[in-house]
């Protein structure tokens, strides 16, 4: 009896040890680091200070970067909802060979390195890129997109769209097409069926997809780094600069922890909201 009670702990001990050493300990060290003193002459010192947090909260520049990151991530999320939800619905209505083939086309870019995809977008959106050639051909003239929020949002949508399609697709799998047919045969319009039958079914998937997309967009580094250029700072590129260029680690740690806190609040908060919604519907 004793042996089988210890068994799960013995089985999971190697993974547990590694994660304690490589996840919990470094996060704790980073939390400590954010309270340590720093000067450009002597680097990181001991002691306890709120200087890093005061510097972030007291400087309009950081508010601006957080604000920009927030709206860019929110815009990418809204576009992903607007494109990903109907696309998942269209995919679910396709016939078998086409359905899985196109699902793969939509999801497969997930496995290609984000650096490659960001580079691809810099070719498509650059000054001599294909979108600008098209704009010139139809007489609009060149539009500057690279190193502006436009390029960042477009590339974020491209990278995040699979994370939106997957949960919506999953919740659509549980929808019996007969329910839609029943509503249609009882005289509901196509729009009413979408609004009253399909939308309530996909809402939990839509919400969980949206929060994953928002959290990943807000912390993305390679896309704003490559497509936003040096001047268009986002939280992730700011943290990168503080750590690797300014070498002000306590300040970088404070910003990174703020980002983590916002991400966790969005993730766990929305999850609680979805579960509450389900519990209410189940009447428990």
């Amino acid at each position: 009896m004793n042996r089988s009670r210890a068994a799960p702990y013995a089985l999971s001990a190697p993974a547990l040890l590694l994660f304690a050493l490589m996840v919990l300990l470094p996060l704790a060290l980073t939390a400590l680091l954010s309270f340590q003193q720093f000067s450009y002459e002597s680097g990181v010192q001991g002691g306890f200070t709120l200087a890093a947090y005061a510097a972030v909260l007291g400087d309009g520049f950081y508010w601006e970067v957080f604000g920009r990151t927030g709206w860019v991530a929110l815009l990418a999320t809204l576009i992903c909802i607007a494109i990903g939800t109907p696309e998942a619905y269209i995919l679910s209505r396709m016939r078998p060979p086409w359905r899985s083939a196109f699902l793969l086309v939509i999801l497969a870019p997930l496995l290609v390195s984000v650096v490659v995809r960001a580079f691809g977008w810099s070719l498509v959106l650059g000054p001599a890129g294909f979108v600008n050639q098209f704009f010139e051909a139809i007489g609009i003239g060149r539009v500057r997109m690279l190193y502006t929020p436009i390029a960042v949002v477009v590339a974020l949508v491209h990278v995040m769209l699979p994370f939106m399609v997957i949960p919506v697709w999953t919740s659509l799998q549980k929808l019996d097409p007969m329910v839609e047919n029943a509503a249609l045969s009882l005289g509901a319009s196509r729009f009413t069926v979408l609004r009253r039958v399909v939308l309530p079914q996909v809402l939990p998937g839509l919400l969980s997809g949206a929060l994953i997309v928002f959290a990943l967009s807000a912390s993305a580094l390679a896309i704003p780094g490559l497509l936003g250029g040096r001047r268009l700072k986002m939280v992730a590129t700011l943290i990168y600069d503080e750590y690797l260029h300014e070498l002000n680690w306590p300040l970088g740690a404070a910003i990174a922890l703020a980002l983590l806190a916002v991400n966790l609040a969005v993730m766990l908060g929305t999850q609680a909201l979805i579960e509450g919604h389900y519990r209410k519907r189940l009447g428990a």
Partner: protein, 263 residues
């Protein structure tokens, strides 16, 4: 039910949006010119030759390959027993263990990167391939674990109990019954872990040193300095490698199941 013409038009736009940057990159890789343009008519392999002549890129590719092979194998070795514990036992702390092992999916890789940078600096192990690999094991373990848990959920524990009651030892049950049942999850998990480690850039950018720079980090560095068609050629090679891994994954496990998760 069928999709209307409006729906199919929308679908065509979404599909071209998803494929456009990848197709453009692969075409530009074959340009004979010095600038980034799609070759119309004349093709050349000169930029692919430039990739293989570029010492830094080749050594970064080798680094990435070594780290990804070791990290994928390490994550499978950790995830198999952990999946058995989570799927086949009820014990205090089970939820917390599952949450901790899945946490790299929720904690941004950027935050893990700066946190590990601090740890590595304190331990004095920046530039160590071993520690870089351990960090990669952490971030790819959730992918391996998820597929194995799904494989175990689909396997009836009664089969294992039957083997036990017929006198097989715990080890024999694992080797002859449980492991074969979860084998698709193990191989699928290994491949998914491999490709995720090979592609990882956001965490690695903080914890690689000049000797251990991985391919995506090297590409990021090159792309922020200058861009020429050589970048397109490397990208095309990565797309080709990814396509091969995807085909194998699809054969072994069904790619839609790997990416969408088990229902």
């Amino acid at each position: 039910m069928k999709n209307g013409p409006v729906a199919l038009g929308f679908h065509a736009l979404v599909v071209s949006f998803m494929l456009a940057p990848l197709v453009v990159v692969c075409l530009v890789a074959f340009t004979p010119a010095d600038t980034l343009q799609i070759p119309w008519g004349a093709y050349s392999l000169r930029w692919f030759r430039a990739v293989f002549a570029h010492g830094d890129l080749v050594s970064s590719f080798v680094n990435s390959l070594v780290v990804a092979l070791l990290a994928a194998s390490g994550s499978v070795l950790l995830a198999v027993p952990a999946a058995l514990a989570i799927a086949r036992h009820r014990f205090p702390g089970r939820q917390a263990l599952n949450g901790l092992l899945m946490s790299p999916l929720i904690v941004p890789h950027l935050v893990l990167g700066v946190a590990l940078l601090r740890l590595f600096a304190l331990l004095g192990v920046r530039g160590s391939t071993l520690w870089l690999t351990l960090a990669h094991v952490v971030i790819v373990t959730p992918y391996a674990l998820r597929l194995m848990l799904a494989a175990l959920a689909g396997a009836d524990p009664a089969v294992e109990q039957a083997a036990r009651s017929l006198g097989a030892s715990r080890w024999t049950v694992f080797r002859r019954v449980t492991l074969p049942l979860m084998l698709p999850g193990v191989t699928g998990g290994w491949l998914l872990a491999f490709i995720n480690s090979f592609d990882e850039v956001t965490m690695s950018i903080f914890i690689t040193s000049p000797q251990t720079v991985t391919l995506p980090v090297r590409m990021y560095m090159i792309a922020t300095e200058s861009i020429d068609p050589m970048m397109a050629a490397v990208s095309a090679l990565i797309v080709a490698l990814t396509a091969v891994v995807m085909l194998v994954l699809d054969r072994l496990y069904g790619l839609d199941k790997v990416l969408v998760g088990q229902q």
